[in-house]
Assembly symmetry: C2
Homo-oligomer: 335 residues x 2
DNA sequence: ATGAAAGCGCTAACAA
DNA sequence: TTGTTAGCGCTTTCAT
């Protein structure tokens, strides 16, 4: 590996001159510039970024904390983060924490030693420590797709309330008035927000919120199935589930009970998961633009790194309703 | 940020002594060791990895080239790579090439400047240049889940032939003798190998390979459907598709034609994709252990980096047959 | 317009 | 056992 000195020698200039040429940081006569360029080519010289970082004190490196509980979600965020980082000449260090606090703190330590200039946390809640620690270390941090109570840190979230509203409004617009809701595990903000949107859409349509029509699920197909069994007794004409898997469970239950989707009961899910397109009928659902979450998070982080933005900001990315076969107008016989 | 000098001053020792303590690289009296440890704690000292890399000439960094054509595949590999890397104190730089050669070479350049100690390529074939370039740069490289002709480089592949064999053998064992095969796009080695396994299983069972029973698909649901339409005329009792999506298309076609799966026709897919569990009946399929591919690739790379292994090796990871509802014994009426 | 030299934070050979 | 010192490859101030 040749160094800047080798290039300098070959071009018969001082190392500093090579540096000036390579970074365009000073006026250099065209002739010497050419000599340097030629020497660089002949030696296949590639500058040593480690040495450069050492001097300049910035590494152009950011850390990305992910978990592997949901593969495709993590990758989608990572893709968005890398997209923005790459364009700004940053690179992303991939950290799969498994949602284990032990591992999370080990990664944090490694990242800190590496002098990363910022960290994006897209793993689920683990150590509260992490947050305060990074704050004390003055390392810029942005949470992606993770709600962080308190206003002292930037986070990029999905607008689940608007998504829940859109899903429910869609059903209302189709003439439904008796619309069930299957929630995720209690305490999950994603589900809570979707439910809030559901209730808001009902309010707007002057449909009273019936607590009986709201059932607790836990994001699994089975839990959706069970919740639907209970809901069926109340004869809703439509159901909105807080995620696709529960919606699929609901559809299974409806079909096995002898009803049709969407003719008898419409079903809407959430997530626009792969499986939502493979069931029959394909699910009407709400798409969560995770790459965009990653992009926005990276943009905020880079702004904080460069000092362009000092105050933490909280951004919500819009979700899009995807209408497919599982939702339709309320049937006349029941309307 | 405090430096090693600050710690040295506070502990009233020389910087080198601090270094010795921190790296356990020399005998130090317990007393001074404690003084150093205490100073480190009080100052919240974290060593600067950039400076350390500068001296030691190793960065403990590897690059991972991925593409986003199939999210979950890429993430699965990345997870495996990171698992092994993390345990060896390495970190992984995430590079999403989009399978664009332009971007790939930009990443290569960035990684080279960063002095990464090795690169794992899990993106699809793009620039032939990349390979020869990295070779010339003496940067260790391992291909993951990507076939690389020539023996001059390590690669970790999935044993698709054994997988295809297992899938077909499973059908043979169930009594089937007229087994169709739906291939992927011609030229894709993954499909070719699966087909080879299919043919081998037939040979072993002394079932002649009937070219009519082999149909060209292109890995999409629709192509599986179309291929099945043609196959149906030949009345096979079972079909093995080179991936799950085509298998799902085949099932759709079979059911719409009035036959039942698996009672009339058994179907086996490949990939163990999410959707394979969401169709009815759930697909019998072949699981591709991509995290393991990533792990093995990382292990080989680290071996090459440390000089433990010099000769390129080619490893094939075993796939596992997952038996679900879409395959069953050949029906008596037809047998 | 170019060169000389200091120094980023650390490690390691050598000295004491 | 501990300290002194040189130097990794680069950038940048200051001098020429």
């Amino acid at each position: 590996m040749s160094t800047i000195k080798d290039v300098a020698k070959k071009a018969r200039v001082a190392p500093s001159t090579v540096s000036y040429v390579l970074t365009n940081s000073k006026k250099i006569t065209e002739e010497t510039r050419q000599r340097v360029i030629r020497a660089v080519k002949e030696l296949n010289y590639v500058p040593n970024g480690v040495a450069r970082s050492m001097k300049s004190r910035n590494t152009y490196l950011i850390g990305l904390l992910l978990s592997d509980v949901a593969h495709h979600l993590s990758f989608a965020i990572a893709k968005g983060v890398d997209e923005v980082a790459f364009k700004a000449n940053y690179n992303v260090i991939f950290c799969n924490t498994h949602n284990e606090s032990e591992r999370e703190s080990q990664y944090i330590r490694l990242l800190e030693e590496r002098q990363v200039q910022g960290i994006i946390v897209a793993s689920r809640r683990t150590e509260e420590l992490t947050h305060t620690y990074l704050k004390s270390r003055q390392i810029p941090i942005v949470y992606a797709n993770r709600y962080e109570p308190g206003e002292s840190v930037s986070c990029v979230l999905v607008d689940n309330e608007a998504g829940g509203y859109a899903a429910t409004k869609h059903l209302v617009d189709l003439g439904h008035r008796k619309i069930g809701f299957i929630s995720g595990p209690s305490g999950r903000s994603s589900s809570r927000d979707r439910q809030r949107g559901y209730e808001q859409a009902l309010h707007e349509a002057r449909i009273p919120v019936d607590r009986e029509l709201i059932r607790l699920g836990e994001y699994s197909v089975e839990s959706g199935y069970k919740a639907m069994q209970q809901l069926l007794e109340l004869r809703p004409t439509a159901v909105f589930a807080a995620n696709d898997n529960m919606a699929i469970g609901a559809v299974n239950c409806i079909v096995e009970s002898g009803w049709r989707v969407p003719e008898d009961i419409s079903v809407v899910g959430y997530d626009n998961s792969i499986q939502s397109t493979f069931v029959h009928p394909a699910l009407t659902t709400v798409d969560v633009p995770l790459p965009q979450v990653g992009e926005v998070a990276a943009r905020i982080l880079l702004d904080e790194i460069s000092g362009r933005s000092a105050t933490p900001q909280s951004i919500r990315v819009k979700c899009n309703l995807i209408v497919r076969g599982s939702s339709g107008p309320v049937s006349q016989s029941k309307g």
